[in-house]
């Protein structure tokens, strides 16, 4: 009887600890990269997205963004990384290796082309995954419907070159998306404060919803 009580109490304590651990809100980390690109672009976008996620889901998330370099150990503390800019991305070998390890070990990187990033991002990602290619996701992929429905794929938030928005992914061996890269849409600009880009409210809402989808997908898979 005594033992059972001890086991019972231990289980409860253990679960509580686990619950406590898991009850801690997580942060989305913005990647600080070298190369001269504006990694720090639109500082209001992550906090706004986090607020939206907090309000519309049960996910415990910190509204304040974290910032992390790819060569830091803390990289592994963040389940979701966010990368954006207008280009000039450069990963050192160490950074490439670190990022590769992070992603292969369950990490998730969401990269959003803020116009002009495409070339350098693809080049640097080739360093990280020389053997893997970006694959465009079909509209039927779950990332477009996990929380909010996007029947026609990514919403087009900003005009850029007037092309259709595309969502690319690098998968791991088990079919898990490690890197989700959005091109010709600029989802993250839609998360920024309204007065920054003067986007119509419906566009911002679309962007926040898609952002929620990405984070939810990242956490669930």
């Amino acid at each position: 009887m005594k033992k059972q009580t001890v086991y019972f109490l231990s289980a409860i304590i253990f679960l509580s600890v686990c619950r406590g651990l898991y009850a801690q809100p997580f942060s989305i980390a913005r990647v600080k990269y070298h190369g001269g690109g504006d990694w720090y672009n639109d500082p209001s976008c992550i906090p706004n997205l986090c607020r939206f996620i907090k309000k519309n889901t049960k996910i415990l998330i910190n509204e304040k963004e974290a910032q992390v370099s790819l060569d830091q150990e803390e990289l592994f503390s963040y389940p979701v990384l966010f990368l954006t800019g207008h280009g000039m991305i450069s990963f050192s070998d160490k950074e490439a290796e670190n990022l590769r390890n992070y992603l292969l070990n369950g990490g998730f990187l969401y990269a959003d082309d803020d116009y002009g990033m495409d070339k350098s991002f693809r080049r640097e990602m080739k360093k990280v995954f020389p053997e893997r290619e970006f694959t465009e996701l079909p509209f039927s992929h779950g990332i477009y419907s996990v929380k909010y429905k996007f029947k026609n794929g990514l919403p087009k938030i900003h005009e850029h070159d007037g092309k259709a928005p595309q969502g690319f992914a690098i998968f791991d061996d088990f079919g898990r998306i490690m890197v989700f890269y959005t091109y010709e849409t600029n989802i993250s600009d839609g998360w920024a404060d309204p007065e920054v880009h003067n986007d119509p409210p419906e566009k911002r809402l679309e962007a926040l919803k898609m952002g929620t989808n990405i984070v939810v997908w990242a956490l669930l898979h």
Partner: protein
């Protein structure tokens, strides 16, 4: 009583009888005399009266005299006798009578004596006896007893008496008989002596009008008509009461007119002794308006208070609709009055008092008036004063649009700030903005009105109206014609309207914008060429002056003035240049704001402005200043002119280069504009095509398609014009453009678009869609073809440049060889020969330097390093000559070798430039894009260097081959370093880029040294990493600039498309295992080895994969 007494008594009685008789006779005689007197008197009086018509006074006098005399005579001659006869009984002794009786009886004086004696006795005065007395008495009695004493005094009239009595009677009778009328009249007049009798005239004068009453100012005509015709002249006497008299002699018909009689006048006529009575012309005064008071009440809207004019000011100015009150005071009591207008209108004056009146009337137009009054006598005033009523025109209002005040082109904000100025003399009641949208396709245009809220009744209004034209949904090419209408507050005649000048706010189409830019550019070129021409003229004149000075001639005063004038002309040329520079800057800004410039062209414009700002160099300014002073100061004229000539030459060169660059920009911009226009058409076509999918407004789309069709035709024209323009200078580009133009014609693009417009009007979606796709594809192809022209342009330029640079490079190489051989062989040659050869080499180097200078005008590619090398070479060549002169052959050779090295460096730099140009297509090396591409290329090369260095570092001890590879890396690093340096020099104002590049250059130098010396370490690796980061930073700086121009954070429109197919790769387990193995091995093996392992496994995967359970490779 005794006898004597009785006798005495008897005698006395007898005497008394005699006396009585005598008295009677005297009375009779007196009466007779009286009668005669009266008759004579009467006669004379009658004569006198009839003849002379005396005055009444005279008559009275004469008559009085006559009567007095008559009375006297009557009394004396008659009445006295009668009196004494009847009333004087006791007559005193009258001795005379006794005497007289005595004589008449014959007794003479006895009687008297007797009587006397008796009387004396009786009175006892005498002493005589009584008897004597008695006796005397008795004796006398006896003698006279029988005598009738009565008979002693007979009443005998003598003949003379009778005649004298009868004569006057007779005369009177004659008078009465012969002149009965006159005598009778005279007699009657004598009977009434007190009257004045008019002597009857020989004729009478009839006077017309006689006495008359006239009104003051009247004219009276007087006429005299004599009763006899023989009268020739007549005298008119006139006298006015207020003035003096006058006499006028009139001839027949004896008329006289008196004009403007103002006072009482008397007049009479006279002809001889005939005179008319005095007639009177009585003058009655006319009534006069003595005082007049006008009060004016202006209409309310005018805001003018009632005005009272001064007394007797009847003329005034008033606004139409004003009411006037006129009060008058007359000089005489008024019966009635009227105000009479020259327009014919009349109005009764109301009599308000004895001599006052009032009238009110409305003023509707300009007029004159006078006041006529009638006094109680019925007399009206004459010649009343005419007063004038002037109309103050209520002028129409005025309005003008002061800003923008000219036709404008709308920018993307589609906002127009209007500044409106309106004014009116009495107040503004409304302000309206009127506008219509003209797109050039309509027959008529609806005019819209927008009321501008203003405070009414203000006389002056200044209104700022921000007008958001975006609401009007304009299309490019549309124009808004607008103007302002203002209304005043004239409620009498209705508000008057005025309109401002019409302005146009154009929403310029791309065609308009480019056309405008083209025109400005052409104007700039023309102006600059004119400035260059003028400058050349100045140079020529200066050269001549300079030549004169060099020959020792002194400058004349005229020449000195000419120098001054030339300096002034140059100043003006510089001012014109500055003006063009400003205009170019404005145009650049405008084009940049409208996104009409590519970064490349923008960069060229900036470079152009930079060039132009340097043309007006401080040296030129200084030279100009000094030149102007040459006139004042006598010294150094020649040098100052030379200084100026030098500065002038530089000015012309720089200007020439600027013109060349501007022309280049124009050509490029022309093609760019065509590309933009074609892309714009394509975009618009796509929009229409996509609009067809979702509830299209066919009419709207048809209009838009029609515009596209018209714009396509315009584009075709522009392409043809551009092809023509570039035919000679850039034949390749011209050909491409011609092909593009042919393409439009062959594919009938405008016609397709027009057909589509027709289909849209018919709401035929299917046909419209098909035509739209066709048009879209054609436009896309067209755009590509025009882009081809751009590439041809660049290639042509590049090729031409490359050719020139090749030639220069070859020449430099030859020169370098010749310099080297001279240095080596100078020992075996004479000094003269060496000098000659060296001089030729110097000339050759200068020539090559000039040609490089010309090349530099066409591109920014040539670095400062090249110029520096050339200058060094020339300097060293010249120094070698100096040392030759000093016979210092050693130094001479050293300089020659250095010159060779400098020439070699120049060759290398030129070659590198050429390599870069040929290595990268589309690089002109002069634009932002080119710098970006260069930096990117440098980044890639540096990345390669970094990788290879890293590889070598990991090898440990290097083989010879590896050492050689390291040396080559060093060279590459060196070349990169030089390139970084040259870019830094070009981007002299790009501090952020420059900063990065400067540091890059320094780091590259260090890296090069490490590689050269073979001392590569981790530090070298870090250094190279840093270089790469900085290169990327530099790119970022340029890209940010590029980014800021290009990026438009406009909200995107959702694009419908088909979903990509499901191509998510299935990564095999083999891969996973490969990676796991690699991961586990990672810590243990070197990167190189790890790489080999990876490759091995990848190959394995390709062939058959790895056995899942054992991990061994399968076949």
């Amino acid at each position: 009583m005794n006898n004597t007494d009785l006798t005495y008594l008897k005698i006395a009685d007898r005497l008394a009888q005699l006396r009585r008789k005598k008295k009677i006779v005297s009375a009779y005689r007196g009466a007779f005399e009286l009668f005669v007197f009266v008759a004579c008197g009467l006669f004379f009086l009658l004569i006198f009266e009839a003849a002379l018509w005396p005055h009444a006074a005279v008559r009275i006098f004469l008559l009085s005299l006559y009567l007095i005399l008559t009375g006297f005579i009557l009394f004396k001659k008659v009445i006295r006798h009668i009196w004494s006869l009847f009333f004087r009984k006791n007559i005193p002794d009258d001795d005379t009578l006794a005497f007289e009786a005595g004589y008449k009886t014959g007794i003479k004086d006895r009687l008297v004596n007797a009587v006397q004696i008796f009387r004396d006795k009786k009175e006892q005065k005498s002493t005589t006896s009584e008897e004597f007395a008695e006796q005397a008495l008795l004796s006398v009695w006896d003698k006279i007893k029988s005598v009738d004493f009565k008979s002693l005094e007979p009443f005998n009239l003598s003949r003379t008496s009778v005649v004298s009595a009868l004569l006057p009677v007779l005369l009177n009778l004659v008078l009465f008989v012969v002149f009965p009328v006159q005598t009778e009249a005279a007699f009657k007049r004598l009977l009434l002596p007190g009257r004045n009798y008019q002597r009857p005239q020989p004729f009478f004068i009839n006077v017309d009008p006689g006495n008359i009453r006239v009104v003051e100012g009247d004219t009276v005509k007087i006429k005299a008509s004599p009763s006899v015709k023989k009268i020739r002249t007549m005298e008119l006497n006139i006298k006015q009461v207020s003035g003096s008299g006058s006499r006028v002699v009139l001839n027949h018909p004896f008329e006289y007119t008196l004009y403007n009689i103002n006072s009482k006048t008397q007049y009479f006529f006279r002809s001889g002794r005939v005179r008319t009575p005095v007639f009177v012309i009585d003058v009655q005064k006319r009534p006069v308006v003595r005082s007049l008071f006008v009060t004016l009440f202006s209409p309310l809207y005018s805001g003018i208070l009632p005005q009272k004019f001064p007394e007797n000011q009847g003329s005034f100015s008033a606004i139409t609709g004003s009411r006037a009150n006129i009060d008058i005071i007359s000089s005489k009591p008024l019966k009635s009055g009227k105000i009479n207008f020259s327009s014919g209108k009349k109005k009764q004056i109301k009599v308000t008092g004895k001599a006052s009146g009032s009238v009110k009337f409305l003023i509707t137009k300009q007029d004159n008036y006078f006041i006529s009054i009638e006094d109680t006598s019925g007399i009206i005033n004459k010649s009343p004063i005419k007063y004038e009523i002037k109309i103050i025109k209520d002028m129409p209002p005025e309005v003008e649009i002061t800003e923008p005040g000219a036709d404008t082109d709308l920018d993307e904000n589609m906002h127009l700030d209007l500044r409106i100025k309106a004014s009116d003399d009495f107040g503004v009641s409304a302000l309206l903005l009127k506008y219509g949208i003209f797109s050039g396709q309509e027959d008529s245009v609806e005019i819209f009105t927008k009321e501008i809220p203003i405070r009414k009744m203000l006389k002056e209004i200044l209104y700022n109206l921000p007008w958001d034209i975006a609401d009007l949904d304009l299309f490019p090419g549309d124009a808004v014609h607008y103007w302002v209408e203002v209304f005043d507050n004239d409620i009498i005649n209705g508000p008057k309207k005025s309109s401002s000048k019409k302005f146009i706010a154009r929403f310029p189409s791309l065609f308009d914008l480019y056309k405008s830019a083209d025109e400005e550019n052409i104007a700039f070129t023309d102006t600059l060429e004119t400035i260059l021409q003028k400058s050349s003229g100045i140079s020529e004149k200066l050269n001549k002056l300079s030549d004169d000075l060099k020959t020792g001639k002194k400058l004349t005063w005229e020449q000195e003035q000419q120098i001054k004038q030339l300096a002034e002309e140059q100043k003006r040329a510089i001012e014109d240049l500055n003006s063009v520079e400003e205009k170019i800057a404005d145009l650049t800004k405008k084009l940049e704001s409208q996104n009409m410039l590519s970064d490349e062209t923008l960069e060229k414009y900036n470079k152009l402005q930079n060039l132009m700002s340097k043309i007006d160099s401080p040296e030129l300014k200084e030279a100009l200043k000094k030149l102007a002073e040459t006139v004042e100061k006598a010294v150094d004229k020649e040098y100052k002119i030379q200084d100026f000539q030098q500065a002038q030459k530089q000015f012309e060169q720089a200007l020439d280069r600027t013109i060349a660059l501007l022309k280049e920009i124009q050509a490029e911009q022309k093609i760019e504009s065509l590309i933009r226009l074609s892309q714009d058409l394509e975009k618009r076509q796509k929009e229409i095509n996509s609009s067809l999918q979702e509830n299209p407004d066919f009419n709207e789309l048809a209009k838009r398609e029609n515009r596209i069709s018209k714009d396509s035709e315009k584009l075709q024209n522009n392409i043809e014009n551009a092809a023509e323009m570039l035919k000679e200078s850039h034949p390749g580009a011209s050909d491409s453009l011609n092909k593009a133009s042919d393409f439009i014609k062959q594919n009938r693009i405008p016609e397709i678009q027009k057909s589509m417009s027709g289909s849209l009007k018919k709401q035929d979606s299917e046909r419209s869609g098909s035509l739209g796709m066709k048009s879209s594809k054609a436009l896309n192809k067209l755009s590509s073809m025009i882009q081809q022209a751009k590439k041809s342009l660049k290639r042509y330029k590049q090729n031409a440049l490359a050719e020139s640079m090749m030639r220069a490079s070859k020449s430099l190489l030859m020169l370098s060889d010749m310099q080297e051989s001279l240095a080596e062989n100078s020992g075996s040659q004479s000094a003269k020969s060496i000098a000659g050869s060296q001089l030729s080499l110097i000339a050759g180097a200068e020539q090559i330097s000039d040609s490089l200078e010309k090349i530099s005008r066409k591109t920014f590619k040539l670095s400062a390093e090249l110029k520096k090398s050339m200058n060094q070479a020339l300097s060293q060549m010249n120094r070698s000559l100096s040392f030759l002169e000093q016979r210092n052959f050693g130094m001479m050779r050293a300089q020659q070798k250095r010159a060779t090295a400098s020439l070699n460096r120049a060759v290398i730099t030129l070659q590198q430039t050429l390599n870069q140009m040929s290595g990268k297509q589309g690089q002109t090396g002069s634009s932002l894009d080119d710098f970006m591409q260069q930096l990117e290329a440098m980044g890639e090369q540096q990345s390669m260097i970094n990788r290879m260095t890293s590889d070598l570092l990991n090898r440990g001890r290097l083989s010879l081959k590896e050492q050689a590879a390291m040396a080559r890396l060093a060279q590459k690093q060196s070349a990169l370093q030089k390139l970084a340096q040259s870019i830094a020099q070009e981007l002299d104002k790009q501090d952020d880029v420059l900063g990065s590049l400067s540091k890059i250059s320094d780091d590259m130098k260090k890296s090069e040294q490490d590689l050269k010396s073979g001392n590569i370490s981790r530090k070298t690796k870090e250094l190279q990493q840093r270089i790469l980061s900085r290169l990327l930073d530099a790119q970022k700086s340029l890209h940010t600039r590029d980014f800021s121009n290009r990026r438009t954070a406009t909200a995107g429109k959702n694009i419908l498309r088909k979903s990509p197919s499901w191509g998510v790769p299935k990564v095999s387990d083999n891969k996973k295992i490969t990676d796991d193995i690699l991961n586990s091995a990672r810590a243990r093996y070197s990167p190189e080895y790890l790489k080999l392992i990876r490759e091995y496994f990848e190959k394995l995967n390709k062939k058959g994969g790895v056995n899942d359970s054992t991990g061994s490779a399968t076949k």
